[in-house]
């Protein structure tokens, strides 16, 4: 039983993902739940082989938008770069539009959740010898180390592209599915504002809770100090009783002072809140 589970796990773990070459002129047929690894056609990105006096990729990445500034047509671009292993201080830098790639993949029935990885043709096919045909009208070949897309009729073809046995490199990109809606910095700003307000409201909530506790404590002290009954209902009943007494006594004194003005008073009686004066 355990062996069977282990085999299933291994099968899932070793599940083969299909490598596809994504180009607007490609003809692809993908199953609904098929996982794919995409190699982007040069028509889906802008590439430059550039020499820069920096050592690390992180330094290059900061410069990418400005390096492409005057080249790119208007659009919402993301950037990537990796070091050219064949030359010192040489880098391949890329600009690509996430939405364009996702839309194209979706046109071929590739759901973004089924995309395992996305690679540039530059990083995967730079070892090509001669030209290879990628569809009926286009071929790619490597010129000066850069994978280039050309019409078929320009060069003599050496055959169709073989993706069955390709070993993909570690250079891959992650597509920002929603980057075209709001850019990341705006998202962070909005999220920060929401978080800050939430924190403020929560702080205010805890302060208010403390104030409530303080008032409850004062109220308990008040009950002890004035020797009140446990419920307000009882206290209100007691108050009503004393207010009644006060009212009766005030009325008695007022009525008595009026009636004492009579002459030859023989009898004054007061019982059950009823005053009688007889002359």
């Amino acid at each position: 039983m355990n062996n069977q589970k282990g085999i299933i796990f291994l099968m899932k773990f070793n599940e083969q993902k299909r490598v596809v070459f994504l180009d607007p002129n490609s003809q692809l047929s993908i199953k609904d739940d098929e996982k794919v690894e995409i190699i982007l056609s040069p028509s889906l990105y802008w590439v430059q082989k550039i020499k820069l006096p920096v050592k690390y990729i992180r330094d290059v990445k900061k410069l990418l938008p400005s390096l492409f500034e005057d080249i790119l047509p208007s659009g919402n671009y993301n950037y990537s770069a990796y070091k050219n292993e064949n030359e010192d201080e040489s880098f391949f830098i890329f600009a690509y539009e996430d939405k364009k790639i996702i839309d194209l993949a979706s046109r071929f029935g590739i759901n973004s959740s089924n995309i395992s990885s996305v690679h540039f043709a530059q990083s995967e096919l730079s070892d090509l010898e001669g030209a290879v045909k990628i569809n009926d009208s286009q071929s790619i070949y490597v010129k000066d180390g850069v994978v280039t897309l050309v019409p078929c009729c320009w060069i003599e073809e050496s055959g169709n592209i073989d993706l069955e046995n390709i070993k993909l490199s570690k250079h891959k990109i992650t597509l920002a599915q929603f980057g075209h809606i709001v850019d990341n910095s705006s998202l962070y700003k909005i999220a920060s504002v929401l978080v800050v307000f939430s924190l403020l409201f929560f702080s205010e909530y805890f302060i208010t809770k403390q104030k409530i506790s303080a008032i409850q404590e004062q109220k308990s002290k008040l009950y002890k100090e004035y020797d009140l009954k446990p419920t307000m209902f009882q206290n209100k009943a007691i108050l009503k009783k004393y207010q009644g007494i006060h009212q009766n006594q005030t009325t008695l004194r007022q009525e008595l002072s009026k009636k004492l003005k009579q002459k030859n008073i023989k009898l004054i009686t007061y019982k059950n809140n009823n005053l009688k004066v007889e002359s």
Binding site: L187, S198, T208, I212, L228
Partner: protein
């Protein structure tokens, strides 16, 4: 590619904000009610205390009545007193005009809980008195 949709995070943050706002508003309402309740309790407590002191303080009322009845002008009236747990009954069959004025003036000008009173004129100068004060 299995990135979390920013819309989900947005909705989560908005929900967090809404929840914090809701909790804050509830707490503020509770605080307002607590303040109101405290104010009301204090008012009731103060009123009960002052009315209790005026009409239901056995020790003080008894002491005041003893002091009042010890007045020289009331000696001739031969006043009888009957103390109970709930109050006192004061009576006299032979109370002159002056003694009646002194006694009733002091009783009615103080905050005693007079439950029953009977003053019957016997002659022009003498009256019969029955007075019950509660505490």
């Amino acid at each position: 590619m299995n990135r979390i949709n920013p819309a989900y995070i947005g909705v989560l943050l908005v929900m967090l904000l809404a929840m914090s706002l809701y909790l804050l508003n509830s707490a503020k309402d509770t605080l307002k009610e607590s303040k109101q309740s405290f104010k009301e309790t204090k008012k009731i407590a103060t009123e009960i205390k002052s009315l209790k002191n005026a009409y239901a303080n056995e020790v003080v009322t008894k002491k005041n009545i003893i002091r009042l009845l010890a007045d020289k002008s009331l000696k001739s009236a031969e006043i009888k007193t009957e103390y109970k747990n709930s109050g006192v009954k004061i009576s006299s069959k032979n109370m002159n005009k002056k003694a009646l004025d002194v006694l009733m003036g002091k009783v009615l000008n103080s905050s005693y809980d007079v439950r029953s009173l009977k003053i019957k004129s016997i002659t022009q100068e003498i009256a019969e008195l029955e007075l019950e004060i509660r505490w």
